[in-house]
Amino acid sequence: MLGLQRHRGALTVLAGTFVACLAVMLGGAALGAIAFPFPTVLDALVHPSTTTEVGRILWDLRLARVLLAALVGAALGISGMLLQTMLRNPLVDPYLTGTSAGAACAVAIGIVLGVAYPLLPLLAFVAALATAALVAALARTGAGISTERLILAGVSLSALFGGVVTLVILLAPTQSMTLSILGWLGGSLAGRGWNDLRVASVYALIGAIAAFAFAPALNALRLGDRRARALGLDVDRVQWSIVGAASLLTAAAVSVSGVVGFVGLIVPHVVRRLVGTDARVALPASALVGAIVVVGADTIARTLVPPIELPLGVLVSMVGVPAFIYLAFRRRTA
């Protein structure tokens, strides 16, 4: 693996993506039911205060939400890049490890059983990790993980939990419960705040640090498991660690936002085009592009038809998928 200085072009793009991410986050903080000019937002950020209207809206509501959206996008982006690279499969989604299906199942049952709303993120987080652990256990062969078994186990368990969620929706005693479950499945950051950010960011940070630490090992896995093993890489340990980091990141995201699909699947594709496949550059780029997508989508979700908030996951799919198809189609015909 060569020094990062040989990736000068990619690093420039990475710096540009970072600036774009900051700009989108600033836009997310400025826009809403009440829009503020950018200088006003910058001033309120530099001089934190909740005594003014701008300060209250920004510090009590919008900033936490923008940061949460960035966290969700970054976590799903990194997780998608980790799993697609490790499994050498561009169709892999971070929800492959069953995290979203397990969390959805637990939340649906929790809502019907009357679990308090503030406890749902914790329930989702535990269920997401438990499902990922079950999928990993099923995929285990000897000391390592079979990539084919991981995909099969993830898809199978996701289908099983998806069936349970549908059944719970059909049997839910009240319409409000049905709507709550559907709202969670549609993905949303409505009502989330600093407390959710504090909890989720701890787990996401642990997952991100592990992911970045394993970037060189992830690069070696691009040669194939056996070649990486022949080069002295402890492939089994690396695989377990990457699945663990990806699950932690996805569980942290799912616990606060519900199911936001598409981000973890498509962001790695966009990033590979922007900066290439070296994990040392591609992982931070995935975090930034993921954050841009989710912060942008969340801003649109809460400003397009106020005061109604559109489901975040639905919006990401409806705007993001056509945009991605356009990009892919343009590239093929270019």
């Binding site: 693996m1 060569l2 020094g3 990062l4 040989r6 050498r88 630490a213 394993f214 970037a215 060189p216 090992a217 690069n219 070696a220 691009r222 040669l223 194939g224 056996r226 070649r227 990486a228 093993r229 022949a230 080069l231 002295g232 890489l233 402890d234 690396v238 590979r272 290439g276 496949t277 070296d278 040392r280």
Partner: protein, 255 residues
């Protein structure tokens, strides 16, 4: 390897294999398809559990070595496997330096870069260092894998059919390079299908067949008509030239 037994998919493919590889020696591994040559190579690399017997390097069981230590001692080059996506030739070759760094270290050192430059130079890949690996022909890819092994700088080189996709000139170049590495004191085990290349470049030839090691010795001793016919099931003529070379060919007229 002592009394080595290997199974693949629950089926014994090799038993009672005793094989030594010495420093400064090129050992050619020959035999018909399915004889277990690649399997034996993986076992020698410590990447496959034995069904019996043991593999030791300098008296130490290969399984007792740490992964990185093993990577510095033994390198395995297989042409078959996933094609790394989005990597340049130099990046693939640079992977050979992995055993010399902690797994979490992001940057490579000056020594690593120098080793990669030497490997690219020796395989004639300097001009295509920044080319995408995916765009290369199979023969060019094969040279890149050998360059990776050169950068890895292990004591024992295990090469699985390194000339299978190479033209005559590049096959000659690749094996000449292996000979120079062997002259530097490394040991090499090379799986070859071309018996003439084996005879020309190897110090010793190991012939696999009938689920065991049929013979191991100098090309003169091993490449013998009756033995080759028993291993391959077709008549193979062997000529011993006055200058000491051994030449083999399929004796079509004798069929």
């Amino acid at each position: 390897m002592r009394a080595g037994a290997l199974a693949y998919g629950g089926c014994r493919v090799l038993e009672q294999v005793d094989l030594d590889v010495r420093p400064g020696e090129l050992l050619a591994l020959v035999g018909p398809n399915g004889a277990g040559k690649s399997t034996l190579l993986r076992a020698l690399a410590g990447l496959m559990e034995l069904d019996g017997g043991q593999v030791a390097v300098d008296g130490r069981a290969i399984g007792a070595l740490g992964a990185r230590e093993r990577g510095r001692i033994v390198s395995l080059v297989e042409a078959e496997g996933p094609v790394p996506a989005g990597m340049t030739v130099a990046e693939v070759v640079a992977m050979g330096r992995l055993p010399y760094r902690a797994w979490w270290r992001w940057a490579s050192g000056d020594g690593d870069r120098a080793a990669v430059d030497v490997a690219l130079e020796r395989l004639g890949l300097v001009g295509m260092a920044s080319r995408s690996f995916e765009e290369l022909s199979s023969g060019e890819r094969q040279r890149v894998w050998i360059a990776l092994a050169v950068a890895q700088n292990a004591t024992l080189l295990l090469l699985d059919e390194p000339t299978s996709h190479l033209d005559v000139r590049h096959a000659y170049d690749a094996l000449t390079l292996v000979r120079t590495l062997v002259a530097d004191g490394k040991g090499a085990v090379v799986v070859l299908h071309d018996l003439n290349l084996a005879a020309a470049f190897a110090d010793r030839v190991a012939l696999l067949g009938a689920r065991t090691l049929l013979a191991c010795g100098s090309p003169h001793e091993v490449l013998e008509e009756t033995r080759l016919q028993a291993a391959y099931g077709i008549p193979i003529a062997v000529r011993h030239e006055p200058d000491g070379r051994v030449v083999t060919f399929v004796d079509v007229a004798a069929r």
